[in-house]
């Protein structure tokens, strides 16, 4: 059985996967300014991964997908989120110390580098959601019982 899509789908996927990726990165990194945020952006980027999986087939995906890397990235996302939450532990857990007296991310509200730890947390959640969803989809696609 052929595992991948035809030529047109593949060529279009080649062109659109970077665009989906950068749009997801935009949604994640502007989570404190525009609608969206970590989960939505991460799911968008995971959509690019799933498009790759569907358009190019499982064989191609298996060659580029590294389970340990994605597992580590997911863990890293969670840890960064927790680390950002602990930054202001001197006052309280989740105290936004970057916003009140931090060196970065305390710019004019409405600009990219504002809102304290929120951009960091959005990036962390985006990374975690992306890695988690892609790993889940690859695991489901690699499930082999029906292929006998």
């Amino acid at each position: 059985m052929k595992n991948d899509m035809g030529l047109i789908v593949k060529t279009t996927a080649r062109a659109t996967i970077p665009l989906i990726g950068i749009f997801g990165a935009y949604v994640v990194s502007h989570g404190h300014l525009t609608p969206g945020g970590g989960f939505q952006g991460g799911a968008t980027i995971a959509g690019a991964g799933i498009l790759f999986l569907i358009a190019f087939g499982l064989g191609e995906m298996k060659r580029r997908y590294n389970h340990h890397l994605y597992s580590a990235l997911e863990g890293l996302g969670g840890l960064v989120f927790l680390g950002a939450a602990m930054l202001g532990l001197g006052v309280a857990f989740f105290y936004n110390t970057l916003w009140h007296n931090g060196p970065v991310f305390n710019g004019q509200p409405g600009t990219l580098l504002s809102a304290g730890y929120l951009p960091i947390m959005n990036l962390a959640v985006g990374l975690k959601v992306f890695a988690g969803l892609v790993s889940a989809m690859v695991a489901i696609a690699a499930f082999r019982r029906w292929d006998e």
Binding site: L7, A15, I17, I22, S29, T111, L112
Partner: protein
Amino acid sequence: MSFIAVFIWSFVLWLVLTAGSKGLLWSPEELAAGLIFSGVIALTTKDIIGEKAARFLNPAKWVGFVIYAIGPLFWGMVKANLDVAYRVITGRIKPGIVRVPVDLENDAQYTILSNSITLTPGTLTIDACPEEKALYVHWINVTEKEPKSSEVIAGSFEKWARRLGR
């Protein structure tokens, strides 16, 4: 080279998305973030976009795409929409799937031609077979069962696709 192609491709979309962060232009932090994110995207997807994608960085090609989009493609879509509206009202249809031989070399040309054919109503590309150099097109009003070229279905699209995807 494909790294540069993806980088520019994604950075342009970033610029479009974040335009207006400083007046009508871009603030430096948005530009820096765009460079970083485009770099990451380019690093991760440079093997996907294809080795020869950098040929689309040629500005002459962009002009060609714009001329094609607002010229032949738009005009073809207008004509085909009116034609399909006529067929909806009168019910005079003769649907069928025809094999259209085409003379194209690479994937991009097939994709441009197939998408153009699908975008013009009444014709729908079902499959592109580069190994037999043919497209299979579902046609709402078959006038020629075995066309010798794509002229009857797509007009001048094949010529454009050959030029744009080269």
